[in-house]
Symmetry: C2
Subunit: 397 residues, 2 copies
């Protein structure tokens, strides 16, 4: 075991490479950092004073994700104590996941040989319910822009000029409005050309997931659902690309009124991407959309702020199947395969730098209150998870 | 002459009612307040140290509008000294025009009898050029709204929910985009029903004005002009209604990026109105537009913040004709009749409270630098203006 310094919190690395060069090598990923515990007064027992009440262990990090790390340690230890470990094992535990893993990419680049493996086992993504062992096999990518529009040279009096020059806020609103059609589809030219469609089998799998449109409605608090026609909410969030305004600013936004015709308007817009969309290509599509639709009464620029491609792991890889079989053995039910709408940088980093997929799973539950007071780990689920990890190891023997 | 206190700066009132009850009564309007003089270092001579250089008198308020007031005093004094004044004369000089005349309306209400008159002569609106004696006969009205839209109950993660709930910023943008059609016409239902169209004679008069589309382009600094199809810039600004976003705010607008799906979006939107549009009816049209077009994935409200109707004065009233003839006598050219795009509250207040039109004229020039350093009054023009006011008085004899 080594503790390896970085510009931020150090990395912890350990390995057991006794299975020999022909055996599979698993890289268990984890993080030891946690979210702040405040507000402290809402905790029934101290966040760093782990306490069992009923079936749960309460404390900061129990679910996200020290408990998950310990499940991995325990599984490997059980296998070591039972005889020869049938796989090579590496552990990489970072300390900056909750702040976006800013030092992960250079660390992977600098330690490619040490970290060489066949797959990453990432137990940081939880379950959809305690009866639903879960494997997350896809994450969406991102392409993030800032669009800046200028109309007149300076703010003008809306009475003296209104109606004879184009208002950049009106125009940017119109342009954004046109970025979706009446079916909720995105109109950037060529936007869907590289979108990998879900086949009937995958859609049937997603339909098994225990998360209904009603759940999305309730969890969002929106008055009604919305989205691309022809898809369920779970498909829209996991398997379809989106375009959202993250911020919009123009003119006078304090309380009261001012009859200004603003000179400028700005919007931050991000697209969530699915395989095989390319973030920089989407940027070009955004620029092309603006070229084709912007009125000459404004000037504009689109800044590409960041981007990362979507990632998808084969659901039928040797490792995904080994984990799926292990989960089914322990739970007695076939696991659900889930697509996650967000992005997890470390997964993409490992794909790009180490060339390996991640098997994303975990034994946290939706009501574990991660990032909140009274975070807990459901111990019976955690023990089943530990057992499943042991089965996975032997499924790869 | 009386100095009459108000909640703000006092009003100055004076009268000469020697012409008797059958003669016309003119109410000369003026204001004695001025804009701040800073930045002081840009003045060639002190702002309150009036200085003649060449044909101009330099100093704060020379053009806006103490010089105009003095032209009126001199004209009346000349007539008084020449013999019997053929009209009754009242003067009302306020001290809060530059801050929107907040105490004018109650003052008029409280002093209706004292201020009773046949017409208000308002020399605060300037000329389009020194060879163009000008009468402004129309001002646009206003109806100002704030639209607040809510999607999800709280800000959401754009990865976890993006694509399955309606983004309120996207939706508000789409709704605003739809408020104009491809011809630059406003799509609020019934918006043009009460718009009084300009006839061919009026449009021909406006076409005489020495302000071209090129002037609007240059003065605005916009890359191109824009507006309602079928109208010139001068017609669009003076004689057609408009709808402008004055402010738009949603989500994260600081530098950098945040993948938030915002819960709320807000826009301040104002319409400039022409006769005979009704500000509160336009509010109802905005509400109806929202009812007809807003997606059920958001809730919304439209707040009516303020409104005032447009005003228009007959170009062929006895008083307008008297002023026009006077200007033509002095300049040797027929005056231009101009529609102003902005709103002047005192004109509407006088129409509503005293029941009188205003004849808006004045002898300030576009390059007088009002509100700026080195404000000046062009003395030859000012002397001609004084002469025109004298002629007007005798034209009403």
């Amino acid at each position: 075991v080594q503790i390896i310094p970085s510009k931020g919190h150090p990395f912890v690395y350990g390995e057991i490479l006794t299975a020999g060069p022909d055996a599979s090598t698993l890289l268990f990923y984890g993080h030891y950092d946690v979210q702040p515990a405040d507000p402290l007064e809402l905790w029934e027992t101290g966040p760093y004073d782990p306490t069992v009440r009923g079936e749960n262990l309460y404390g900061r990090g129990t679910s996200d994700m020290k408990g998950q790390n310990v499940a991995c340690f325990n599984a490997v230890e059980a296998a070591v104590q039972a005889g020869d470990l049938p796989v090579n094992v590496k552990f990489l535990i970072e300390g900056e996941e909750e702040v976006g893993s800013p030092n992960m990419h250079p660390f992977l680049e600098a330690n490619k040989d040490m970290l060489a493996c066949d797959v990453s086992i990432n137990p940081d993504s939880g379950m959809l319910g305690k009866e639903y062992p879960t494997i997350n096999y896809a994450l969406r990518g991102l392409s993030y822009f800032e669009i800046r529009v200028q109309g007149p040279a300076v703010d003008l009096h809306s009475g003296m000029f209104g109606g004879t020059v184009l208002n950049p806020a009106n125009e940017l609103a119109r342009l954004i409005g046109g970025m979706h059609d009446e079916n909720g589809r995105i109109t950037l030219p060529g936007f869907y050309d590289r979108v990998r469609e879900m086949d009937a089998e995958e859609r049937a799998e997603l339909a098994r997931l225990p998360r209904t449109d009603g759940d999305f409605l309730e969890q969002s608090g929106s008055p009604a659902l919305w989205g691309e026609a022809g898809f369920t909410s779970i498909e829209r969030v996991g398997g379809r690309p989106t375009l959202d305004v993250n911020g919009f600013l123009s003119g006078f936004v304090e309380p009261g009124q001012k009859t200004v015709l603003p000179a400028k308007a700005m919007a931050k817009i991000s697209t969530r991407l699915v395989p095989d969309q390319d973030p920089k290509e989407v940027y070009k599509q955004m620029v092309q959309y603006m070229e084709e639709h912007a009125n000459p009464g404004i000037t504009w620029e689109v800044e590409y702020m960041s981007g990362s491609p979507a990632s998808i792991s084969a659901r039928d890889s040797k490792y995904a199947l080994a984990m799926a079989a292990a989960l089914e053995t322990v739970w007695g039910t076939r696991p659900v395969f889930y697509r996650v709408g967000g992005s997890v940088p470390v997964v993409g980093d490992m794909q790009r730098v180490l060339g390996v997929d991640s098997v994303l799973t975990g034994f946290g539950l939706p009501d574990d209150a991660i990032h909140s007071p009274n975070e807990k780990m459901h111990l019976p689920t955690w023990r089943k998870g530990t057992a499943a990890l042991i089965h996975m190891i032997y499924n790869l023997a």
